[in-house]
Symmetry: C2
Subunit: 308 residues, 2 copies
Amino acid sequence: MTSNRFRGVLVPVVTPFDADLQADHARFSRFCRYLLDEGADGLAIFGTTSESNSMSGDERMALLDRLLGAGIPADKLMPGCGATSFTEAVRLTRHAIEHGCGGVLMLPPFYYKGVSDDGLFAFFSETIQRIGSDDLKIYLYHIPPVAQVAFSHDLIERLISSYPGTVVGIKDSSGDWSNTKALLDRFPGFDVFAGSEVFLLDTLRAGGAGCITATGSVHVRQIRKIYETWQTAEADEFQAFATAVRKTIQDYPVIPAVKSLIAHYNDDPVWSRVRPPLDELDSERSALLVSRLEKLGFRLSAMMESVG
Amino acid sequence: MTSNRFRGVLVPVVTPFDADLQADHARFSRFCRYLLDEGADGLAIFGTTSESNSMSGDERMALLDRLLGAGIPADKLMPGCGATSFTEAVRLTRHAIEHGCGGVLMLPPFYYKGVSDDGLFAFFSETIQRIGSDDLKIYLYHIPPVAQVAFSHDLIERLISSYPGTVVGIKDSSGDWSNTKALLDRFPGFDVFAGSEVFLLDTLRAGGAGCITATGSVHVRQIRKIYETWQTAEADEFQAFATAVRKTIQDYPVIPAVKSLIAHYNDDPVWSRVRPPLDELDSERSALLVSRLEKLGFRLSAMMESVG
């Protein structure tokens, strides 16, 4: 692991949409700035929580351009650049790398199901070789509940040994700690990020790099306390609180729930909006979620000042 | 059902790739011409069998442009224009409609799983309203084994009643005859295509429009005999033969198997090539498939003359 690698708590930033369902560049840039000010170690824009696949490749590239134009530092960005075709993955990734992004998060091709490790290896090989850049750093995006196509450990080993210095890490959104633990045990030096803060402390104690988590858009400062204190006993308390918050949010569809919380704490209903096929959280459930979280002691007053 | 609607046997044409894995425009156009000469009633290019999602949107549009430039009639084309974002679906569909395509085959957005009918309805509404063309004819592409997102019958009813004359049919690739039958019973006047020739005769006898089938790339002339004779007893024999051929091919991964057969009967190994994440059928399995099919009495000599 080198110093220019990502570590800590990264946020797969939610994407605001205007009344015509177009990405709201200005709100997005302001929110990214806020998250960095709150302590986010990096922004994994264009992830699942970002509704990335509900945007076209052209929209994602335009949004990245605007974000950089607004002064968000490229080396803090790990945009999602996966696609079902290697040609599109190459196009998106090349754009990100040429603009200096610190790395890219890459889904496996997720249309065909039951594909072989050979086929997935070939997909990544084509992508990496066609980009042909020493600056390329790929973080594999393992999210079988959504993508339905998974990275086996043998495939990961083959990718790491074939492309050392390029395939440098993974976001494990399997929701299965035993998988994260097995990755940490088998691949020392490979940067393993938990896909949820529920596993952040366990991941750090087992030698992992941090987490990339949907709820980072809501309270990254609080989640980051686990990272700041992980070598102390205090970390367990921060972990318990973050886990309680996460589990409450997970009682609702996570993406609409995260957006509704941002809308609530900024008093800005624009944030509630999602692109179809997702559904917005209705106001009743949204209010219930806020009330349940506040009973846990959850507060976000800082947010209103920074982004409102 | 009006006269300008598709009926009969449509082929989701396989896409040839050159040594650099780029779409081979010339071979593709020749092959489309051959399939129409063989009796295909339409070409559902850019379907699952076409490895459409292994190509970028730009590649698909360029391939369509070249096909039309080569003289393939647009009204015979039903390109796959689905995408995970409505913005990309709008872009692809608008291009197809502006070029006069007879219709488009549209997957549901297939990234997020477990989405609601409301969310799917909103996705199609946004797509249809943004295109805003009376020329638009959408055929829903129901293929839950791959897309993992399905069209419920209530959703279909809502789409048909909200967009009559636009949402005009469906390709049912569920592989479940009871689903096809239920669609035919519930939606008279809606053009139901079986997703496999195995169900072609049953579909026609129950009032369906035909089939759109992967193996049409291999022997559309033979499959079409079922359509030509469906009101006679002779049709059962054609159905039995086509079913036996199909079930043999289905013992192998269907897309690589179909491509290997075209390569074999044209003596043109270029056709065997697939884009990752799919794997090419190895020569041993390919030879076994040919041998098993020929034992059934399968011959494709005409193909060599037309395309070779």
